[in-house]
């Protein structure tokens, strides 16, 4: 299996990882999340390695999205949501005082379950992030960023001659790749994806999976998925959540072939879900 190559990178051997000094791009330490009085996540400890795809799986309502949204502080805008504990990005607590969410979200991009292109042209959709962050110094610069991002998202060939067409006019799969292009246009370090393929047909899904596999060369990817096959196909690490607990975390292969916890086993074999 191809995955094996990547999953070889062990947590215990930092020297071998890409980011040699710190193999863990994101580390969560005893993270508790509450919506009002209700606890959605219970003391989560999770270290996510760089330049890999980490899959978050688990039954509906177990807190996968909640965890994902903690990583770029998207929960800040949710009324009554409270996050306790520590989440570090490159060793820096993103919930510390003085951390700027705008800056953080430029470093940690996000792709959503339902493709949500803005009601703007394809070009402007991709240019949106660089524009608000002031990343392009000139029109030519911006063109380069946009074309590059579309290229990386594997969409350029399909839309090259209609960059001025509205982004909402694309097919679902194209829209989702547009959203990926939009996210990578600001050159984030981490890309969060919440069930990016759940609204897509199998062919579009295959394209996105392929894309994710390519993107991991340059980005750390954390994705939520409900599809066991998808997790097995594209991820190197898998975390299994259940009722707000992180039950098991490890190499994807290990989780699927030799789960330690019986809840994990029940889930991956389709007995709970």
């Amino acid at each position: 299996m191809e995955l094996a190559i990547h999953t070889e990178v062990p947590e215990s051997a930092p020297g071998l990882s890409v980011a040699a000094s710190n193999p863990h791009k994101v580390t969560a330490k005893s993270v508790d999340v509450y919506y009002g009085d209700k606890q959605a996540l219970k003391s989560i400890n999770l270290d996510i390695p760089s330049n890999m795809v980490t899959a978050l799986i688990g039954p509906s309502g177990c807190g996968k999205s909640t965890f994902l949204r903690c990583l770029n502080r998207m929960n800040d805008v949710v009324d009554g949501c409270r996050v306790e504990g520590e989440i570090k990005l490159d060793g820096e607590n993103i919930y510390a005082k003085g951390v700027d969410v705008v800056h953080l979200r430029a470093r940690v991009g996000m792709v959503f379950q339902k493709p949500n292109p803005f009601p703007k042209s394809i070009y402007d959709n991709v240019a949106y992030g660089p524009k608000i962050h002031g990343l392009a110094r000139s029109r030519a610069d911006m063109d380069e960023i946009v074309l590059n991002s579309l290229e990386k998202a594997g969409l350029l060939a399909e839309v090259r001659d209609r960059l001025d067409a509205p982004g909402t006019g694309l097919s679902g799969g194209q829209q989702q790749r547009l959203c990926i292009a939009r996210a990578i246009a600001v050159e984030p370090e981490v890309i969060l994806m919440d069930e990016p393929c759940s609204a897509l047909d199998p062919i579009a899904t295959a394209k996105i999976e392929e894309l994710i596999d390519e993107l991991k060369e340059n980005y750390t990817i954390i994705m939520v998925t409900h599809s066991m096959q998808q997790a097995a196909r594209v991820s190197q690490k898998t975390a299994f959540f259940h009722l707000g607990d992180l039950v098991e975390y490890g190499d994807t292969q290990g989780i699927f072939t030799n789960p330690k916890d019986e809840r994990t086993q029940a889930y991956v074999t389709g007995r709970i879900g």
Binding site: D100, V102, H103, A106, G134, L135, R137, V186, E187
Partner: protein, 417 residues
């Protein structure tokens, strides 16, 4: 690349500017809300401050003798004059005397007439009574006329002020509750003008309006929501109702004038016609609210009733309508509140005349409260501006009450299925 900045540095560099823009944007929003709320506050307090005075009227205490001669001649104002002369024995010159009489309202005599009618025993007797002063003295007492101004620039002469001051010194002038304002019809004299005529006119119009628009509105809503097939015809009705809701109110007035008055020959200035015009105007509001209320009744209720063998009409009248009624009534009250505040269409059908008598029938000539406000607002007297504001306070009082009832109904009948 000439620019060595990393993305991260670029973002960092722009942050301060972006947060300033954020603050500014938020500030615009706050300014907008403050402007709107501030205007409301200024308007209401300006009107409130002015109008409150209308509920009080300056009265002077006079020693009145019901002289047999004068009573026989029905010269009630003459009695007042005699009393005034008695009050100010020093005033001798003819011109001054005439001025002196003007301190009192021309309505003071009416009060005496009323007293005498109620108690004919008064004949020949002397009584101390409080009688209304003229509007100028009223304004002076309320501080609306600036005593410091040059004599020519104010409506009250120095002499009159001295007289009033004598009254004040002897505690014989004071502000009393202005009963007349609530019990009287219109008058050319501000101190005699009351809103009862206008309130009755509004009440009569609204009665007609309610009697027409409520059943029509409910039946239309029921038909459209429960029975109408989805076809061109019902589409037309639907579009028509939505557009009717946005037709300027004055156009309804034109309709009333051309149709009801000129074509059908109905009486001008009558609350009957006013109510009909207002009914056509509020109909869309009631229909739209009624349909919303019917739509809020879950289909399961209809299915259950039909399943038990009720006919479609029975289902609606026995099961659906009772549940939708609170919502419909709420919409109706809101429609009535709109109708109560409406004046433009009433101007078109002649409910804008100077009418002293309080209307008692649907065909009596009448005005309505908002039209009375319009009429008084046009009068130059300072005191009328006060009455106008007073009438506005009363009108707003009615509207607030109606809206509170509507809110209360909505709250207490709110159901969750």
């Amino acid at each position: 690349m000439t620019d060595q900045l990393s993305n991260s540095e670029r973002i960092q560099a722009g942050l301060a500017r972006r947060y300033r823009a954020e603050k500014r944007f938020r500030l615009y929003g706050i300014i907008a809300v403050v402007l709107a709320v501030g205007f409301l506050a200024v308007m209401l307090s300006a009107i409130g401050a002015r109008g409150f005075g209308a509920f009080y009227q300056t009265h002077a205490s006079l020693e009145v003798t019901f002289d047999e001669e004068l009573v026989k001649d029905k010269d009630w104002q003459g009695i007042v004059k005699v009393a005034m002369r008695k009050s100010f024995p020093d005033v001798k010159a003819r011109r001054d005397k005439r001025k002196l009489y003007k301190l009192m309202s021309s309505g003071a005599g009416f009060d005496l007439q009323g007293m005498y009618k109620a108690d004919p025993e008064l004949l020949g007797q002397t009584r101390t009574v409080w009688l209304p002063t003229s509007d100028d003295i009223d304004m002076l007492m309320k501080g609306q006329i600036d005593r410091v101004l040059a004599e020519d620039d104010r409506r009250v002469s120095d002499k009159e002020i001295t007289w009033v001051d004598q009254w004040i010194a002897s505690d014989r002038i004071e502000l009393q509750f202005n009963t007349r304002f609530f019990t009287g019809g219109d008058s050319r004299e501000p101190e005699l003008a009351g809103i009862l005529g206008a309130v009755m006119g509004s009440l009569l119009s609204l009665t007609v309006c309610l009697a027409l628009s409520f059943p029509l509105g409910v039946m239309t809503a029921v038909y459209l929501e429960e029975f109408a097939p989805k076809n061109k015809w019902t589409d037309i009705i639907e579009v028509n109702i939505n557009n009717l809701a946005a037709v300027p109110s004055i156009v309804f007035g034109l309709l009333g004038l051309a149709m009801f008055l000129n074509f059908f020959g109905m009486p001008r200035s009558a609350p009957l016609v006013g109510g009909m015009v207002l009914a056509l105007m509020t109909l869309p509001t009631i229909i739209i609210a009624g349909r919303a209320a019917l739509r809020a009744v879950p289909p399961s209720i209809r299915e259950a009733a039909l399943g038990m063998g009720a006919s479609p009409i029975q289902t609606v009248t026995h099961h659906v309508l009772p549940l939708a009624m609170p919502g419909m009534l709420t919409g109706t009250i809101i429609g009535m509140a709109q109708a109560l505040g409406e004046s433009a269409p009433l101007l078109m059908i002649g409910m804008v005349a100077f009418i002293v008598d309080v209307p008692a029938a649907f065909t009596d000539p009448a005005t309505a409260l908002p039209v009375q406000i319009y009429l008084w607002a046009d009068s130059p007297e300072r005191a009328f501006s006060e009455r106008t504001s007073g009438a506005i306070i009363v009108l707003l009082g009615f509207l607030i009450t109606m809206n509170i009832i509507a809110v209360f109904m909505r709250k207490s009948f709110e159901r969750r299925w």
